[in-house]
Amino acid sequence: MNLNYEKSSIELPDAWRAKSPILLSAGLVCLFIGMGCAFLGSANGEDKSQGFRYLTHSYLANFTFVFSFTIAALFFILVQFLTRAGWSTSIRRLAEILMMMIPYLALLFLPILIPLYWGSSSLYEWNAKDITNSVVASKATFYLSKEFFTLRSVVYFAFWILAATWFFRLSRAQDESGDTELSLVRQKWSGPLIMVFSLVTSFAAFDWLMSIDADWYSTIFGVYLFSGSMMGFFAMMIIISMLLQKAGKVQKLVTVEHFHDMGKFLFGFVMFWSYIAFSQLVLIWYANIPEETIWYQVRLDNGWAVFSYSLIPIHFAIPFLFLMSRHVRRNRIALTVGASWVLFAHWYDMTFLVMPNAGPLEVMPLFGHFLGGVGMLCIFGAMFIQRASGVPLVAMRDPRLPEAMSYTNPIL
C-alpha cells in the first residue's frame, strides 16, 4: 500500500519548538505562584505547618496528575503489542513519546522524596519522629521508612524507564529498518512486562498515594488509580492528536476512525473508573467500619463535602452522557471538548484523592493548587515538545500501518 505523505507531516510543528521555552517558563512560574498561594493561603500564612501541608499535598496531586499519563501510556503500548493490535499503529508513536517522559518525571518526583530526608512529615505522617498512632508506628519501623520508601521508588522508576526505553528503542529502530522481527520481539516480551508492570504500579499507588493516610488501606486502590490514569491518557492522546492536526500535521495518518476509537476507550474508561470508585465507596459505606470510613469522612468534613459530591457529575455523569453518542465520538472538535473536560475531571479526581488530607477546604490553597496544576501541565507540555523533537510522529515503517489506515467503524 502506498502511503503518500510528506516527511514534514510527521514532524513536530516548528512553532511548537519555538514556543517550548515560553511554555516551560510559564509553567514554572504558575507552579511556583501556585505553591506559594497554597502555602500562604492558609490563615494568611500564619500556620506554617498547615501551609506546608497544603503545599506538599498540592504538589503530590499535581505530580500524580501528569505522571499518570506517562505510565498509562506505557501500559497502552504493552497492551497493543500483547494483543497484536493494528488499529493503533498510526497513533502509537505519540503514546511512546508520552512514556518516554517518565525519566523527566522522575526529576519532578524529587521534591516529594527529598523533604523526607529533612524529617518532613507534612505529606507522609509516617516520617514523623514520634508517631502516636500504633498502627502507623509499627509500619513505619521498616516498611514506611524513608530508606525503604526511597529504595522502592527507585525500583519502580528503574523498571518503568527500562521498559519504556527498550520498547522505544525498538520502535525507533523499526523506523530505520522496517524489520518485522522487531515487532515480534516486543510482542513476546509485552506479556511478562505487563505482569511486572501491574505489580510495580499497584505498589507505587500504595506507597505514594495511599500512605498519606498511613493507617487506611484499600486493596482496590491500585486499580482505582489505574482506571483514572488510563482515562486521562486517552483524553491526552485525543488532545495531542487534535492539536497536531490543527497545526497541519498527521492529517491523513490519524483518521476519524482513530479518534472514534480513542473516544470509545475514553468512554469505556470513564465507566470503568466510575465502577471502581463506586465499588470502593459502597463497600466501605455499607460495612461502616470506622477504620475505613475515616478516609471518606475526611473528604466530607471541613468544607470538602460539596467538592466531593461534585465528583459524581464532573467525573461520571457529564462525560458519560456526552461521550455516549457515536456522533460526538466521530466529530473531532466535539470529542476534543469532551477530552478536555475529562482531563479536568482527572485533575479533580487527583485533588480529591490527596488534598482533603491536607486540611480544610480553603479558597486560596485550592486556587493555588489549581494554578499549580496548570503550571504542571505546561511543564508537561514543554517536556513533551522536548521529547518529541526529532522523533517521527508516526511509526512509518511498522508493518501494521496499512491496517491502521484501512479499517472502519461501521456501526458503533
Binding site: W87, T180, T219, I220, Y275, I276, S279, L283, R400, E403
Partner: protein, 478 residues
C-alpha cells in the same frame, strides 16, 4: 507447519503464528459461504454420533437425580446439607458463584470482544452464549433451593402483596443478586436468541421435513435476510453488546458484594468486585475451552473453530489467571499492611489452618496452572489445554470454597469457631448440576446452530474484499 496438534489430528491447521502486517487466516480450508453453511448445518441435520446418545443418557440421568434430590431437599429441609454454625454458607453458595462465574465468558465473548472488533469471536460466540445460559440456569437453582422455604422464593420480587404488606429489602446484596442474575439471564437469553434468528432461518430454509420447517420458521420469526432488517438488527446487536458489556462486570460484582459488604475478615476487602469478575472470566473461558475442544473434534468443526481461536482463548485464560494472582498478592500484602489482627490471621489460617489442603489446591490450580500457557506448545495442544482448563475450574471452585468456608469457620470470636464438613447431598447436588448443564448443552448441539454462520460469513466477506485481495476466503483478525 507441524505441531503437536497437527500430529494428533490431520485436520488441524496451525494458524496461530502471526507475521506482523499479514494476518493469519481465521477460517481454514478455503471455505466459501456455502461450505460454511454445510459444515454448521450438518451438525443438526445428520444423525448424531453414538457418543451423543451415551453422553446424553448419562447426563440426563444425573439431571433427573438432581431434580429428585431437590424434591427431597424441599420436603426434608436444608439440614441435609453440611451447613452449620458458624459456617452457614457452604457448598450451595459456592456452587452458585461457581456457575455464575462460568456464565460470564459467553457474554464477554459476545459483547466485549465484539466491541473490540475481534473477529475471531464469530466462531465461538454461539456455543459460548449457550454455555452461559445453561450455566446461569444451574446457578439460579441454588439460591432458589437454599432459602429454606423454596416455595416462597417469589417473596423476593417486588409485587404488591395483600398478605405480606411489605416489600423486599433493597439494601441487601442478596436482593441485588436477584436483580443482577435475573437481568443477566434475561439479557443473555435475548442476545443469544437474537443472534440465532438468521441462523434459524438458514435451518428453516434447508429443512426437508415440513414439521422441521415449521418449527424453525416460527422460531426465526419469518426472517428473510432483508437489508432493511439487517440494519436494525445490527444496530440492536451493537446496542445489546454495549449494554451487555457493563452488565457482565456488574453481575459478578454484585455477587462479590454478597461477601464484601459484610465485616467478616477475608470477605470485606475492596478489591473483590474486579477480582471476582476477573475470576469469572477466567473460569468461564476455561469451561468454553473444555467444551469446544471435544465439540469441534466430534462434529468436525476444526476449520471454523481453529487452533488460533483456542490459542486466543488460552491467552485470555493466562491473562485473567494472572489478574487473579495479582489480586491474591494484593490481599496478602494488605493483610499485613492493615495491621489488622483479624485480616492477618485470616490469611495465615487459610494457608496453614484446618483448610490448608483447599487453599493449596486453589493456589496450584489458579496461579500455577494458567502460567503453563506461556508455553506455546501447551497453548496449542488440544489435549493439554483441556487438562489445564479443567484444573482451572477445579481451582476456581476451591477459591470460592476457601473464601466462604475458611472465613466463616474462624472469624472474630474463637469460642464460635467450628469445622465444616460436607454431606453426601452437598456433593451429589453439585455433581447433579453438571448433569443439567451437559444435558442442555447436548440438546443445544442437536437442535440449534452451534456456530454463528451469518457472522462467520460476514468476516469471510469483509476480508475477501479488503485491500489484501489475495487473502480471499480466509477471514482475518482485525
Amino acid at each position: 507447519m507441524a505441531t503437536i496438534a497437527s500430529t494428533f489430528n490431520p485436520r488441524e491447521i496451525d494458524n496461530t503464528d502471526d507475521i506482523p502486517g499479514r494476518r493469519a487466516p481465521l477460517i481454514t480450508g478455503n471455505q466459501t459461504y456455502g461450505s460454511v453453511t454445510d459444515i454448521v448445518c450438518r451438525v443438526a441435520e445428520e444423525p448424531q454420533p453414538m457418543l451423543w446418545y451415551i453422553l446424553f443418557g448419562f447426563s440426563s440421568l444425573t439431571a433427573i437425580t438432581f431434580l429428585g434430590l431437590i424434591g427431597f431437599l424441599i420436603l426434608t429441609g436444608v439440614g441435609i446439607w453440611g451447613n452449620m454454625n458458624p459456617v452457614f454458607w457452604a457448598w450451595p453458595i459456592v456452587n452458585f458463584v461457581f456457575w455464575v462465574g462460568i456464565g460470564h465468558a459467553g457474554t464477554l465473548i459476545s459483547a466485549i470482544l465484539f466491541l473490540f472488533r475481534q473477529n475471531w469471536r464469530t466462531s465461538i460466540n454461539r456455543a459460548a452464549e449457550a454455555m452461559t445460559i445453561f450455566a446461569v440456569i444451574c446457578a439460579g437453582i441454588y439460591p432458589g433451593i437454599h432459602v429454606g422455604r423454596a416455595w416462597l422464593a417469589f417473596w423476593l420480587l417486588p409485587y404488591p402483596s395483600l398478605n405480606l404488606w411489605m416489600w423486599p429489602q433493597f439494601r441487601s446484596p442478596l436482593l441485588w443478586d436477584v436483580f443482577a442474575v435475573g437481568t443477566y439471564a434475561s439479557v443473555s437469553l435475548v442476545f443469544w436468541y437474537m443472534g440465532m434468528i438468521p441462523d434459524l432461518a438458514t435451518y428453516r430454509d434447508r429443512s426437508k421435513s415440513p414439521l422441521r420447517r415449521m418449527v424453525y420458521g416460527v422460531l426465526c420469526l419469518g426472517w428473510t435476510g432483508s437489508a432493511r432488517h439487517w440494519l436494525r438488527y445490527e444496530k440492536a446487536y451493537t446496542l445489546l453488546a454495549a449494554l451487555a458489556a457493563p452488565l457482565v462486570l456488574s453481575v459478578h460484582t454484585v455477587v462479590s458484594f454478597d461477601f464484601a459488604v459484610s465485616q467478616v475478615a477475608g470477605w470485606h476487602t475492596t478489591i473483590f468486585p474486579p477480582y471476582f469478575v476477573a475470576g469469572a472470566i477466567f473460569s468461564g473461558f476455561a469451561m468454553v475451552v473444555t467444551l469446544l475442544v471435544p465439540l469441534r473434534a466430534i462434529y468436525k468443526l476444526e476449520n471454523l473453530i481453529t487452533l488460533r481461536h483456542l490459542d486466543n482463548m488460552n491467552k485470555i485464560i493466562l491473562a485473567t489467571g494472572s489478574l487473579v494472582g495479582l489480586a491474591y498478592a494484593t490481599e496478602f500484602f494488605m493483610a499485613w499492611y492493615s495491621q489488622n489482627q483479624y485480616e492477618g490471621f485470616t490469611f495465615m489460617n487459610r494457608a496453614f489452618g484446618p483448610y490448608w489442603w483447599a487453599y493449596w489446591t486453589m493456589v496450584t490450580c489458579n496461579v500455577i496452572s494458567p502460567q503453563l500457557f506461556w508455553f506455546k506448545k501447551l497453548r496449542t495442544s488440544t489435549f493439554w489445554m483441556v487438562v489445564i482448563s479443567i484444573f482451572v475450574n477445579i481451582g476456581m471452585w476451591f477459591e470460592r470454597f476457601v473464601i466462604t468456608v475458611t472465613s466463616l469457620s474462624r472469624d472474630f470470636l474463637p469460642s464460635s469457631w467450628g469445622y465444616f464438613r460436607p454431606t453426601l447431598f452437598d456433593g451429589l447436588m453439585f455433581f447433579g448440576s453438571f448433569g443439567v448443564f451437559l444435558s442442555l448443552f447436548l440438546l443445544f448441539c442437536r437442535f440449534l446452530p452451534t456456530i454463528a454462520m451469518s457472522e462467520v460469513k460476514g468476516i469471510l466477506s469483509a476480508t475477501a474484499h479488503s485491500a489484501h485481495g489475495h487473502d480471499a476466503g480466509h477471514g482475518h483478525d482485525h
